[in-house]
């Protein structure tokens, strides 16, 4: 199977048709990356589309030898940050705590409506953004510490410690809700 990096290099050299393969491989994880933060299907889809749009637009900034996976998550992080900045008035003035909880029940499949799962998601949404991000990357996106370290521009060991602390904090919040 041709590697993600080789596909991206082809896109970079003008064979933009190879974008479809990269889309097939990454659209679901990237969509879930946004969904875990925002809790809104439609907006998560818009942001996912934006990630692929940026890949196409800024393909020349992909460096030979770099990891595509790391690069796409860096783009996704930027898209998410830009989204928050753009809708600052909207997001800061609403009671997002309530919104997120209820959105969860609206957006998720019935199988995910068991009480424990809702509680862990509720606990996750109560966490500060940076800690939530590290859990999303390590647990839901199944990225290795090395990859997380590259995405967040930290050392591998710092990533390991940060994930541990975040999970610990999540555990405390979860216990409070149970």
């Amino acid at each position: 199977m041709i590697s993600d990096e080789a596909l991206m290099m082809k896109v970079r050299s003008g064979d933009t048709g190879k974008m479809s393969l990269l889309f097939e491989r990454f659209n679901i994880p990237i969509y879930n990356f946004f969904l875990k933060f925002i809790g809104d299907k439609e907006i998560s889809q818009d942001l996912t589309q934006n990630v692929f749009y940026r890949i196409l637009k800024y393909n020349h900034s992909f460096k030979e030898g770099a990891s595509f996976k790391t690069w796409i998550y860096q783009i996704a992080r930027n898209v998410r940050i830009d989204h928050y900045k753009k809708y600052k008035i909207y997001s800061s003035s609403l009671n997002t705590d309530n919104i997120n909880e209820i959105n969860l029940t609206e957006n998720h499949d019935p199988i995910e409506k068991s009480e424990e799962i809702l509680l862990i998601q509720k606990a996750l949404r109560k966490m500060p953004e940076d800690k939530k991000e590290i859990i999303v990357l390590s647990q839901f996106q199944e990225l290795r510490y090395k990859e997380i370290a590259e995405i967040l521009n930290i050392t591998e060991n710092t990533a390991r410690v940060k994930v541990h602390r975040a999970i610990k904090e999540l555990s405390v919040l979860y216990k409070m809700l149970v």
Partner: protein
């Protein structure tokens, strides 16, 4: 192994991602270290719950939009990215993908208006107060039209952007208010509805708008919106709301969180 604190390695231990040596060291440490055992049990519970959260699949719409983007990209810019000139073409083409002709026309008019204002200032021409007012009105009108156009976009984030434009408008224009109410009552996306509610709250000093919000509460069926509306209405401290809230409480299939919120609000309104 130099590392003394094994705790940060527990997640990798649970995922079975450690090398044999570290794994064995943790296993032997676990036999004697109660604190580490406790930490492992704690991690196991959270880790287990996190693993149950399933991965969601996006709608087909995402793939369709992606394909559309690719088709437009291929059709509009053959030989893309091969030279700096084609890069500029690509930028223009991509710009066209996201900005409709109507929006571009508004942008062009705004640019012209800005140009004339700047020109007149630079040449020292004094624009009469009347002309200034006329220009402000034109800009206001353009903003309104832009907002109304964006509200019809299929993308939820574009519709939220439209709602946010209403914050730049000075007056409570009937068309804008009507569009915001339409969005609040009919938009399929809860976050867009909430954004519309937030925008309407600015005009809640107006009795008609207060009545509109009360009316909207009767039609909303999503607990998320109902709770947000109840919060907004309660802040108005209008005693007549007590009847509305009591009527709502009589509804058979009312969400328990909404009931709780109404009871809290009724206490405030007492």
């Amino acid at each position: 192994m130099e590392k003394k604190d094994f705790k940060p390695y527990l997640i990798e231990y649970l995922k079975d991602e450690l090398d044999e040596e570290t794994k064995k060291e943790i296993q032997s440490k676990l036999k004697v270290d109660l604190e580490l055992q406790e930490e492992l049990n704690e991690m196991q519970v959270v880790f287990g719950e996190l693993n149950k959260v399933s991965i969601q699949k996006p709608d087909m719409q995402l793939k369709e939009n992606f394909q559309k983007m690719m088709e437009e990209n291929t059709a509009q810019a053959p030989g893309l990215f091969s030279s700096s000139i084609s890069n500029i073409q690509n930028w223009i083409n991509n710009f066209q993908v996201t900005i409709s002709f109507k929006q571009m026309a508004y942008a062009a008019v705004l640019l012209l208006v800005g140009f004339f204002i700047g020109y007149n200032q630079n040449t020292g021409t004094i624009i009469s107060g009347e002309k200034n007012q006329e220009l402000s009105m034109e800009i206001e009108e353009l903003r309104k039209n832009m907002m109304l156009t964006l509200l019809e976009q299929p993308s939820a984030s574009e519709r939220i952007k439209a709602v946010n434009i209403s914050y730049d408008l000075e007056d409570a224009d009937p068309k804008v208010i009507e569009a915001l109410f339409f969005t609040l009552n009919n938009d399929k996306n809860s976050n867009v509805r909430l954004a519309a509610l937030e925008a309407l709250t600015r005009y809640s000093f107006n009795k008609k708008i207060r009545n509109g919000l009360t009316e909207s509460l009767r039609h909303q069926n999503k607990p998320l919106i109902q709770i947000a509306l109840i919060d907004v209405l309660t802040e108005m401290h209008d005693k007549s709301l007590k009847k509305e809230f009591n009527d709502l409480l009589q509804q058979g299939e009312l969400d328990s969180d909404v009931k709780e919120k109404i009871n809290e609000s009724l206490e405030i309104l007492m």
